[in-house]
């Protein structure tokens, strides 16, 4: 089905929703999930354009993005747990030690 525009628009909508979530939520884990949502929107763009162009490079990139997201999830959640152990909260308004 030649419906490239539909996939790209869906991807743009998901990316914008992820952006709004990152900017408005305060829970660090929810912000993390919104970042995953944005990564997935980009993945959808990659796969749709890869199929349209008849070139598999985009899907290989999706493979690598998934690897990076898995590594990011492991390290990021470890950071959140370490912060929770110190401050008893994961509200990003309280994570302002490096703010001037």
């Amino acid at each position: 089905m030649e419906n490239l525009n539909g996939y790209l628009i869906v991807s743009a909508i998901l990316f914008s929703i992820g952006t709004i979530g990152v900017l408005t939520r305060k829970n660090a884990i929810v912000i993390f999930m919104c970042i995953e949502l944005m990564l997935n929107a980009v993945n959808l763009t990659f796969v749709a354009l890869s199929r349209h162009l008849g070139n598999l490079d985009g899907q290989i990139f999706v493979f690598f993005i998934m690897t990076v997201a898995a590594a990011e999830a492991a390290v990021g959640l470890a950071l959140i747990i370490a912060f929770f152990n110190n401050k008893e909260t994961i509200d990003v308004d309280d994570i302002n030690l490096m703010k001037w």
Binding site: M1, N3, N5, G6, Y7, L8, I9, V10, A12, I13, S16, I17, T19, I20, G21, V22, L23, T24, R25, K26, N27, I29, V30, F32, M33, L37, N40, V47, A48, L49, S50, R51, H52, L53, G54, N55, L56, D57, Q59, I60, V62, F63, F64, M66, T67, V68, A69, A70, A71, A73, A74, V75, L77, L79, I81, A82, F84, I90, D91, D93
Partner: protein, 167 residues
């Protein structure tokens, strides 16, 4: 028929994505995000990329989301609805809508090139998606693949060190 299916999946994906950023409880957000991931896996199947769909379900909906739900339950965060949002809500929505209109503008003003690569849909269906992906990874993308293993090693070591009792 396929267009109708696409519209239904799109509706589910967008509604669950909105639920991710509006639910008060992080567990509900995580479950909605899993729903979105499954919708994306459906998109990959419709785009003739079944291997990507399988990896999406296993890695994202399986591994990463289990890790997140595990963390949410481990931390036992109290849901305080009083200070969920702040003045940032208005500004964040403006920036989000601006992002969307920006991307849409670029999409409608730009021209996508005609198909250039050798992999047509018929060829993918005939040979098999997984086989073609494997061939690409282990020939043209061998060096990035090896670097990925180093990245995973660094992530393992980093996570273990960060999770220690005393940093």
């Amino acid at each position: 028929m396929e267009t109708l299916f696409f519209l239904i999946i799109t509706l589910v994906a967008i509604v669950s994505a909105i639920l991710v950023i509006t639910c008060k409880n992080p567990i509900n957000s995580a479950l909605s995000l899993i729903m979105t991931f499954f919708c994306l896996a459906t998109y990959y199947v419709m785009l003739d990329a079944p291997f990507m769909a399988a990896v999406q379900v296993m890695v994202y909906a399986g591994a990463i989301m289990v890790l997140m739900v595990f963390t949410i339950m481990l931390l036992n965060i109290r849901v305080d609805a009083s200070k969920k949002h702040s003045h940032k809500l208005f500004l964040g929505s403006i920036i989000g809508f601006f992002t969307f209109f920006n991307i849409a503008f670029v999409l409608f003003k730009s021209h996508v090139a005609m198909p250039t690569g050798p992999y047509s849909v018929d060829m993918i269906k005939q040979i098999g998606h997984t086989e073609l992906i494997g061939k690409e990874i282990f020939t043209n993308f061998l060096l990035p693949f090896e670097i990925t293993s180093i990245l995973l090693l660094v992530a393992i070591v980093g996570a273990v060190i960060l999770a220690k009792k005393k940093i």
